[in-house]
Each structure stands twice: as C-alpha cells, then as structure tokens.
Amino acid sequence: MTAIPFKTAPSLRSNRRWALIAAYACLGIFVVFFLFPPYYMLVTSLKTNAEIAELASNPWIVTDGVTFGHYEHLLTESSFPRFFLNTTIVTVIVVAITMVISVLAAYSLARLRFWGSGVLATGVFLTYLVPDTLLFIPLFKIVGWLGLLDTYWSLVLVYPTLTVPFCTWIMIGYFGSIPRELDEAALIDGANHLQMLLKVFIPVALPGLIAATIFAFTVAWANFLYPLAYIYSESEMVLTVGTVTTLIKGDVFHWGGLMAGALLAAAPPVILYAFLMDYYIAGLTSGATKG
C-alpha cells in the first residue's frame, strides 16, 4: 500500500504541469489573436503618411521613424476633442438614467410580487431582443417629432432603449439571488422599501450593479448605428461616427489619424474595465446566510 502514494504523486504533479502548459499555450494564442488588432492600430498610428502609403514597407514595425503627428492633428486641429466631450456627456447621462431606471425596475420586479410581475420581467427582456437595426427607423420618426434630430440629446433619449432592458435583467438576477430573509430582517429592523434598496440591496448587489454599469457604458460609448442615423453636424457628433466621417474624405482614408482616433476612443472603456474588474470577483454576498 505504501507504494501507491509514491507512484501517484509524481504522475499527479506531471499531470498538473501538462495541464498548465496546455492552459498557457491556449492563453498565449488568445492573447496574440486579440492583441493583434490594437497592436496594428498602434503601429499604424505612429507611422508617417508616407510610410503607410508605401506598399513595400513592413506593416508590423515602424521603419521610417516614429511620429506623433496623427495624435497632434487629432487633438489640436480636428473636432476630435469635441467628439470626445459629446460622447462623454451622452455616456454619463445614459449610464445615470439607465442605472436609476433599471435598479428601481429590478427591485420592484424581483421583490414586490405584484400581479403580472413575472410576465413583465420577461417582457422587459424580450424588448432587448429586438435588434436596433429594426428600431432605428421608427425611432427616427419619434426623434424627429421631438425635434431632437441632429443633436446628441437624441442619443440620450434612445440609448436607454438598449441599455435599460438588459441592465434591468441583470439586476433582477442579482436582486433575486439575495436571500429573502435579508429583506425580512430589514423589515423587522424598521426599514422601508427605499431604505431597504439603498442600504441593503444596492450594497449587497454591488458586483451586479458594476456589471450593469459597464454594459451601459460600453453601449453608450461605442454605438455606431444611432449616431450615424440621427446626427449630421460635426459639432454634435460622437466619437464613433465623428472619427470616421471626418477622417475619411471621399475615398481617401487617413489611416494614421483613424487608427490614432480609434485607440484614443477605446482608451476610456479599457481603463474602466481595468479598474472595475476586481469588483466582479469580490465575494461580497458570502457570509450573509449559511452556505
């Protein structure tokens, strides 16, 4: 019997080593695959227009000397800062509206069992399944009636149609996972519904709240279709459409500027993800109840 641990221990260890090697190899392939586009963007954004246009040049490295000209042009001579500001305004307001509506909606759908709440919860999610490529035409009419065409306020109005259903759905899931005894304890402790929401539900469901926030942020920051359909003036444009429309003149593509603009536009979501990722992992709800 003593031979068994002697025999299995090394094989377990080598098993683990092979598993690790395989895992890292897969991860390595993934990293290369996903980092390739940003790398290409970065390299292109640092090249001179002449080098980009030169067909014989190596696309993977900068050979003619690094230039920050594209960035300089974007930040000082184009409307890029204006787009950035517009996008920021739209995103912040949309995220705020989304979170207020979806947290309140999710709380009532998850906890205030009223007639039809189950059907309503499913209905909310179904609205999310209608693709925006179908919605933008009827919404165009509505935005037109409201006189919001060609302003970024049209985006503040329509983005929540994309974000609220999904975020509500996420929050229903998180609120639903909070044990009912917690509300009952709060009820006996003397909390009303608003206090229960603010002091118990929101703190406990914080990881879900952050997930929903990131989702709303990403949608509002990166949507292309609605700004393309509703906004025509440069002063009202947001990053996604603005960068493309101002840097592609007819059939001339300013690749360097496009790449620099795209990188700068992608930076805020990346930073946000990097900072908030930890909260996903936080086991905040553990210890509330047994198990």
Binding site: P179, E181, L182, E184, A185, A186, L187, I188, D189, G190, A191, Q195, K199, V200, P203, V204, L206, G283, L284, T285, S286, G287, A288, T289, K290, G291
Partner: protein, 367 residues
C-alpha cells in the same frame, strides 16, 4: 415584555390551509417552543406573529393590542432567522445597530447597547468583522445580538440552531437558555428538534397539520401525551405502538399486546379504560419502559418478562438501543450497558406497564 395571544389564527396559501385555527395564550416572560414536523405550520405561525405573513383569519395580540395590520417594525418584536440573515456588507457592530440607526437612536446610546449585547454574547472582540469572517456559531450569536439590542417585547426564533453542527447546537442551546434567564423576555421559538423543545421550553406546543395537538410543560407532553401524534413525536427513539386488547382476568384489567405479553394495568389506568374492555386499542410504550431482565432500577418488580428475538443492536455507550420483532411489528427497547445483547439472539425483555399509554384507534386520543 408582553403577553402574546393568538385567537383562532388561520392562514391559507391559495388553496392550502397551512394554519387551521390556533388558540394560544403566551404569558409575559414565558419561553414557548412550537415544535412539529416540516409543514405543520409552526413557522407560518411565527411569521404571522412577526408580521411577515398576512393573517387570513383570527387575531394576534401583543401586549393586548391587536397587531394583525401593524407592520413588523411597529410590533416591537425581534426575530432570529435560521440562516442568520446578516447584512453581508456591514460589520458586526453595524449589523447589530442597523435597526437602532433606522430609528434614529442617539449614537452614544447605540454604542452602549451594542457593547452590552456583545458582552452578553461574548462577541465583543468581533464587532469590526464582517459576517463572512465569522464561523456559523459566531454568526448566530450576532443574529441574536441584533435581536437583543432592539430591546424587544417578544423574541421570535425560527429554527435558529438548525444550521449548526451537533456540538455547537448543544452549546448554543445552553446560551439561549441563559439569555432567557437573564433577559426574561417573552420568547417564541420554532424548531423541529424535540430535544431543543424539551430542554428550552417552559411550555411546549406540539403542532401537526396546522393545528395544536397539545400544549404543556415538557414533562406533560412527554409523560402525558394527549394524542397518538404527540406520543409518537416526542421522544427519541420514538414510542413503540402496537395493537392490544383490553381484557379482564382474575379481577384485574390487562392489556394483551398483539403477539406479546399481557400487561396488568395499574388501578388508575384500569379505571380509565373500563369502558373499553374487549375492545382493540393501540398500546404505546416508550423504549425505556422495555428493559433487560436483569435491570436494577427498581421498577422491575412490576414488569412482565417476554422472550424476543433481537433484530438490530445500537450500542450508544451510556445505553444500548435494541430493536426486536414482536409479531409483525418492530419494537425498540433501551437496555443498560451491563448486558450485551447480540443480533439474532433470543433474550428476555421486561415490559413495564406502569407507563403504558392506551390509545383509542378511532380518535387517536390517549385514554
């Protein structure tokens, strides 16, 4: 401190009648344990008293005030839940003080109350920790602390020890008892564990199928059960039931057990079953009233020996549980450690009729 009175309390969920007319009056300071199998309605009664369930019918009075429509926070009750229900994002101190903070109690007063409760429960050094950093027993203490700081008129416990391991459960039982001796607050405690019921209660209320089967002191429900259900539910191992016939022989009344001995009834009991002579009844005999032949506990003299074949033996150290067959029934006896019965063996066990319960099979009432 307050009396709690339940009058004809009824609760229906859609079409299911969970509680079917409960009348119970709990005087100030009493420790009452509601006990019964799962689904007997005991937790529903507790939740109605707490205000967590609407009352379908009847009245709940706390301190002579009808509270049917009073929200939970205004009933001046505190509740301890089975799974603790601590707020995971708050420290122990914040958990305990949450109710007081919502009531805008002065900060210094909150601090004093939390400290006092923490001292009582021995969790003073845990006040800055969060629930996830605590063991099960510590969490349960915090849940109790949260109830204590509120200084309620009534404590409600909903199976508070079910999630703890056996050893800890024993410790916490003692602590709850000590707590009640110290605070003397009216307490209603729900459990399915009859040991908790017997050890904690001033009065045990045995429930079954939404009704009270019997309410009485632990001694009463154990030794003088009113119904077959109570007789079978209280006590572990459970009471033996077997058919018997009441007959008269030589001027004395005997209960003739099916395929077993004929037990002469004590005079008082014989008088009670006088009208049932010749009838088939159900005899209930606790395992401790079937002993080994050589038992030294004095009561032996009145016992009737009978040869049985041993089926299963469970040695528990302090005593041994013996299962044996009598006709079609499997019965259970408790024997001392001085005898060493073995499965398959024939042995003589002594049946003691002085604690025999005779049950009318038509009404299930103990005669």
């Amino acid at each position: 401190m307050a009396d709690v009175t339940l009058q004809n309390l009824v609760k229906t969920f859609d079409t299911v009648e969970a509680v079917r007319g409960i009348d119970l009056s709990i005087p100030n300071n009493e420790f009452v344990v509601l006990v019964g199998p799962s689904g007997c309605g005991k937790s529903t009664v507790l939740r109605m008293i707490a205000g967590l369930e609407d009352v379908t019918g009847g009245d709940i009075r706390i301190a002579d005030e009808r509270v049917n429509d009073v929200p939970p926070k205004d009933r001046n009750i505190a509740m301890v839940f089975q799974n603790y229900a601590l707020y995971p994002h708050m420290t122990v101190a914040q958990n305990m003080s949450f109710g007081l903070r919502l009531r805008k109690v002065a900060k210094s007063e909150i601090r004093d109350k939390v400290q006092r409760a923490a001292d009582i429960l021995g969790i003073a050094e845990l006040l800055d920790r969060r629930p996830r950093e605590l063991s099960g027993g510590q969490r349960q203490r915090v849940a109790m602390g949260r109830a204590i700081v509120r200084d309620p008129e009534v404590f409600l416990f909903d199976e508070p020890l079910s999630n703890l391991d056996a050893k800890l459960r024993g410790q916490m039982r003692i602590e709850i008892q000590r707590l009640h001796q110290q605070l003397r607050t009216t307490t209603i405690y729900v459990t399915h564990d009859q040991v908790e019921a017997m050890t904690l209660a001033d009065r045990v209320v045995v429930m079954n199928a939404g009704r009270i089967e019997q309410a009485g002191t632990p001694d009463e429900v154990y030794h003088r059960p009113r119904t077959r259900f109570v007789a079978g539910f209280m006590g572990s191992p459970a009471m033996n039931f077997l058919d018997c016939q009441i007959t008269e022989a030589n001027g004395s009344t005997v209960a003739r057990l099916a395929a077993g001995p004929a037990l002469p009834l004590p005079a008082e009991q014989a008088a009670r079953v006088r009208n049932h002579i010749g009838r088939k009844l159900v005899a209930g005999l606790r395992p401790e009233n079937i002993r080994e032949a050589a038992s030294h506990d004095g009561a032996n003299s009145s016992g009737v020996p009978h040869d049985v074949s041993i089926d299963i033996v469970e040695p528990l150290g302090r005593e041994t549980i013996v299962y044996f067959r009598l006709g079609d029934a499997t019965l259970c006896a408790r024997v001392g450690t001085e005898v060493h019965p073995r499965a398959g063996e024939q042995t003589s066990l002594v049946f003691h009729p002085d604690r025999l319960h005779l049950i009318d099979p038509e009404t299930d009432l103990v005669l």
